[in-house]
Symmetry: C2
């Protein structure tokens, strides 16, 4: 392997050059980007600043030999943006902390930056700064900064008894996509929609913003760890319970060739992670304002908020109490 001894400066230059063409930021929020001690951005009047950060670590959240570099770049930003969507806010800029082996400062870094740049442009979120260092493993941390009108952020704590629970999209697709990736050697099927959902998730920024601006949602969260874990967080924060309705449950359809056990579809939908769909609650009175689709994205009612404390999955033949069994790095062995 050719030696490719880079200095930190040259890597920073590569990163900032890669984002220089982001002309759609011209004259906008970021007053000072990469290259000084810190970045500066100009907050809009009457808005609160929203802050969120996310680990994206090789071996924990992705695998060097399984995940294409451009998907790593896209996803590290997309998943942080999903938290912004879940508050009903608008992203403005992000900081990238990147630790890399020297072997990955060439083509891998270029492809990574390509995916990151596509996500950055797509979701109008400018690279404003960051930190790089050398490391045997690829470590990524992304901080996203955004804004929301004062009083309009949607928290986890606002769900009330009688509210209807909704999700966007089908559940369990990304987990099934991950299983496909793990089983298959080649990445030939990058166009497969399940695989795409795992590799290139779409943060539901438009939906989140709309629900917040119209004051429709009483509580909201993004589905990153899995429905059972994420709904539990809303229930705990709001001091409520939930009753999920089997009849309406938008579980992923598992293709016959991938099916391994009974009920696989439901298990994936209840506990599978990485969907980055939105789960929100809204009073029944808001039903008329809620279309079945919003800009081509299906919205499914999945149950109602109860006085609690349990989450119950109501399948008439087999009702059960739903426990959080989604992704938890401190419970799961890797």
């Amino acid at each position: 392997m050719p030696r490719n001894r880079q200095s930190e400066d040259s890597i920073l230059r590569k990163i900032s050059d890669s984002f220089r063409s982001a002309s759609w930021n011209a004259g906008q929020s970021v007053a000072l980007g990469i290259g000084d001690d810190a970045a500066l951005f100009r907050p809009k009047r009457g808005h609160e600043t929203i802050l969120t950060c996310d680990w994206f670590l090789e071996g924990t959240h992705f695998f060097r030999d399984k995940h294409p570099a451009d998907a790593v770049g896209w996803k590290c930003l997309a998943r942080a943006l999903s938290d912004v969507a879940a508050m009903g806010a608008t992203p403005r800029c992000f900081l990238l902390s990147l630790a890399l082996p020297e072997t990955h400062t060439g083509p891998w870094l270029d492809q990574f930056l390509g995916g990151l740049r596509r996500a950055s442009r797509r979701f109008q979120c400018v690279l404003a700064g960051g930190d790089t260092t050398r490391r045997n493993e690829i470590l990524i941390n992304v901080t996203v900064v955004g804004e929301v009108r004062v009083g309009y952020a949607v928290l986890r704590s606002g769900a009330r008894e009688g509210d209807i629970i909704y999700v966007s999209g089908k559940l369990g697709e990304a987990e099934l996509g991950l299983q496909m990736l793990q089983r298959e050697k080649a990445l030939a099927s990058k166009k497969n929609p399940l695989l795409r959902k795992h590799l290139y998730p779409e943060p539901r920024l438009e939906l989140g913003r709309w629900l917040a601006e119209k004051k429709i949602a009483t509580a909201m969260i993004d589905l990153s760890d899995g429905l059972s874990s994420d709904l539990a967080k809303v229930c705990t924060a709001s001091g409520v319970g939930a009753l999920l309705d089997h009849d309406q449950f938008p579980a992923v359809r598992v293709p016959h060739s991938l099916r391994r056990k009974v009920n696989e579809s439901l298990q994936l939908a209840l506990h599978g992670g990485d969907d980055y769909e939105l789960l929100f609650t809204a009073p029944p009175g808001k039903l008329p304002s809620l279309p079945r689709k919003r800009k081509n994205l299906r919205i499914y009612p999945i149950g109602v908020v109860t006085s609690g404390p349990n989450m119950v999955y109501y399948d008439p033949g087999n009702p059960f109490i739903l426990r959080p069994r989604g992704w938890d790095p401190f419970r799961k062995k890797l």
Copy 2:
């Protein structure tokens, strides 16, 4: 070793409980802290938001068996705050991304949070959110958010020919402290000032803010990688050179018992990292406004800005061109 299986929730609770007593934030900037999808903070009118993030990684920036946990907690925040100081800004809040082995979620985490809380209170920077995950190695990333009046941030690019170059404090002390730590088995000498400078650095927030508010500094940077590397960044950004004056150079005094080679003191001062002092430039006309000390912190003139392009260290007996030889993770083998 006792099994101590924690879930991510319980670790988040430990962290947020640890910072609950931060009552000095009451009613201030952070409108929503830990526990939702993202944090919210209220920017002050007429101010820009400043953003910076910093890796602090086991094996790269600290060692599990050498560095006390409370020093890891203090320093991960202090070094990120140093970037805020270098812009002349005021910190408001920070996000903590923490990856830990399960074995470190007990006493180690408590001590780490103790050091972090002390730094947080001391520098009035509130914990606003973060992300935790499990990992074999201790990985830390800190994002600090602050603010500065529009037009008052001090950049690296403002140095002009004829400006005087200043630094706060003595140079090379932290590097010498690190050497002491590496040579000594026990941590008995935690009160040693050199060791303290390495373990518990003090970001020069007061000085930075004062220099910015009074419009004294034309350019500023914090000394994290070492003078030779950090001054080079100012020179590059400003398109200038520098002439350093041997006679006035505030190099660390190396105690006789620690001395190993000739010129060690100067080498430490020129290339040693982690001092977190400020380097700034100011026109000669500002000399009368600059005291020798500011709130007990010495300020040393160390040279002048030249038309460039080189940095020259002027020792009448042995003048030489100074090259950046401070810390660079992509050049140094660990």
